[in-house]
Assembly symmetry: none
Homo-oligomer: 239 residues x 2
């Protein structure tokens, strides 16, 4: 259970409405809803944002606009500034994972701050943050757009929360051993009738490897029934 609120996403001087909409869409996919805009270039609301939000209109409608980053982060106990390049500023540099852990550990509102599309955050904006969050991209090809950077952070946030769930869920559990034994018996009988387990010296090893093969999959009861139907069919003569 989360006790603290989900982090706010603060876009500083975003240029294109399309990118604001795409950021809102990225956010809502992973349950983030608190969008704050600092001095958007084309004003707000911006009709270009709607289409690229692809239905995340609730996030756009609830977005709040501020004059400065300090205003936008007024209630935030932890502010993380995203940058591509390392700054000369003396700040801790965190991966998204470490950043989300820091947010988790903060009692109170947190914010992740993104700069304008081309230039990124100014040093003054970064100075306001507790730490720098850098997405570790390919050193030879770092080309995340604004919404993609938001997406990675939002995903990482949601990821931290969902880790409690069991990673591998199956729709149907493996068959009980008895079912499996029945099938192994059936195929063994069929193979024996066709002198498969030969020569005698190798028979034990052959039985063992066949059993290993058929035990490995973890087939469900329904799958075992299907396979037994397959075997019954194979026992017939071809027409």
């Amino acid at each position: 259970m989360r006790t603290q609120p989900a982090p706010a996403i603060i876009l500083v001087r975003p240029q294109l409405g399309e990118n604001i909409g795409a950021a809102a869409r990225a956010m809502l996919n992973f349950g983030l809803t608190d969008l704050r805009l600092v001095a958007p270039r084309d004003g707000w609301p911006n009709p270009a944002a709607g289409p690229s939000a692809s239905g995340a209109d609730s996030v756009l409608k609830a977005a709040r606009v501020y004059d400065t980053l300090a205003d936008a982060a007024y209630d935030c106990a932890l502010v993380l500034a995203t940058t591509v390049r390392r700054r000369e500023l003396t700040k801790p540099v965190m991966t998204p994972e470490a950043g989300m852990a820091a947010i988790q550990a903060t009692a109170g509102q947190a914010a992740i701050v993104f700069g304008p599309e081309r230039a990124g955050l100014e040093s003054e904006d970064v100075a306001l943050a507790r730490a720098i969050l850098t997405i570790p991209v390919n050193p030879d090809f770092g080309s995340l757009n604004l919404a993609q950077a938001v997406l990675v952070c939002a995903y990482e946030w949601s990821r931290g929360g969902t880790q409690v769930s069991t990673p591998q869920e199956r729709n149907d559990p493996p068959a009980p051993q008895a079912d499996l034994e029945g099938m192994i018996g059936q195929i063994t009988d069929m193979l024996t009738a066709r002198h498969y387990f030969f020569p005698e010296a190798r028979a034990t090893a052959m039985h063992r490897s066949l059993r290993g093969l058929l035990t490995q999959p973890g087939w469900s009861a329904q799958q075992v029934r299907t396979l037994r139907g397959v075997l019954t069919t194979l026992a017939k003569k071809p027409r």
Copy 2:
């Protein structure tokens, strides 16, 4: 140190060149370069892909085109199919994190498969995969586009690289897809000769569930050879 190759990204019947370009860009940001296209709607190369790749041209240039998913995954020991919805198919469902762990643990080529923009993967495509990979989005707003889904997987892959854990190596890696296809073809021929795929209305579902069954285990090349020997034996008359 990674010993296994980075996973291939397979786009099945992608519609818009823009999305192929954006997927290539998403990949290269996190160091993935092996792009495979199955029957792209508008052919290949597609001039619409270049601009949205934003410089990831090397990925587009190296992209290979195939007629079927089975062809595209011919050398893959582990195939993960991404879907939004759960399928009725009996496959393990994994988070991206669990999926990347599975890839890490596989000695050999892995692939992550993405369906067409609107419809997603067909059941037959999913049937070919070992497991389903589902990105856990907001249940009230799941709206990732193709390139965003690729981005999350590529990010998760790159993220996994910073986990110091060494992959558990199997001394017998899963067979390449082509070996598995050969075995599935053999058993399908045998069953067809015995009128197993009947009635006609159920034949497609029967093919699919059989393929699902035989893909699930992750048998090694040696195990597949053993099974093909079993099938050859079963094709004979009992004495």
